[in-house]
């Protein structure tokens, strides 16, 4: 299998992700690591909550990975995404793409995170000291 998709309530492990995509014929790996920023438009964020429509989220991530495999000469694709509560500095998402040549790895990795943010049914709630907001819900 050259695609690994995971939704997880526990900490994501960067080294495991990169080890999984690495193969003897790999020349370069591009990795995107999302992190929980401490502020949104100047307002301090205390923590985040991620909710997923799990079955559909996994199938949409799988679709994106297959699209990337079809568009670029890449070898292996891994997408791990957290659900539940995350503190500042924790990692909501890791995307790792291995390829023989780095251009394909960069292009595919960026396509995957851009598309994931548009189509995968996962929702992020930012919790502030004085309230909370579902990100992107309102215009």
């Amino acid at each position: 299998m050259n695609v690994q998709i995971k939704l997880s309530v526990s900490t994501l492990h960067l080294q495991d992700c990169v080890d999984w995509v690495m193969a003897p014929e790999t020349g370069g790996i591009d990795v995107f690591v999302g992190t929980v920023r401490n502020a949104t438009r100047g307002r301090a964020v205390i923590r985040l909550e991620f909710e997923a429509y799990e079955k559909m989220a996994v199938s949409e991530m799988e679709k994106i990975a297959q699209q990337a495999l079809a568009k670029w000469p890449v070898q292996k694709i891994l997408i791990h995404h957290r659900t539940g509560g995350l503190q500042i500095g924790e990692i909501p998402v890791i995307i790792a793409v291995a390829a023989a040549h780095r251009d394909a790895a960069f292009d595919a990795c960026r396509y995957i995170i851009d598309t994931l943010k548009q189509t995968v049914p996962i929702w992020k709630k930012e919790i502030f000291e004085d309230g909370e907001v579902w990100v992107a819900a309102h215009p």
Partner: protein, 80 residues
């Protein structure tokens, strides 16, 4: 037919529950469902946008809904 609708993110807050039941005629469309839901929960219309998923796939307004389909309301996603 009675359809149980799954709600996520802000849709859950709007419905006040993670699922709502809706009574639809056979061969109702996604568009019919949205109309009904928006009548019962006008705050849906305030969202930037929202989609309906039928059996874990994004559905178009003209798609029809059948008994035992798994229907979900997908407010604007914000993963990553």
């Amino acid at each position: 037919m009675k359809i149980n609708i799954l709600a996520f993110g802000i849709a859950k807050d709007i419905f006040g529950a993670s699922t709502v039941d809706v009574e639809l005629v056979n061969d109702a469309t996604v568009s019919n469902l949205k109309y009904l839901l928006e009548k019962q929960h006008p705050r849906l219309k305030k969202l930037a946008t929202y989609m309906v998923a039928v059996n874990n796939e994004y559905a178009l307004d003209g798609d029809t809904i059948h008994e035992r389909d798994e229907i979900a309301i997908i407010p604007p996603v914000s993963g990553g």
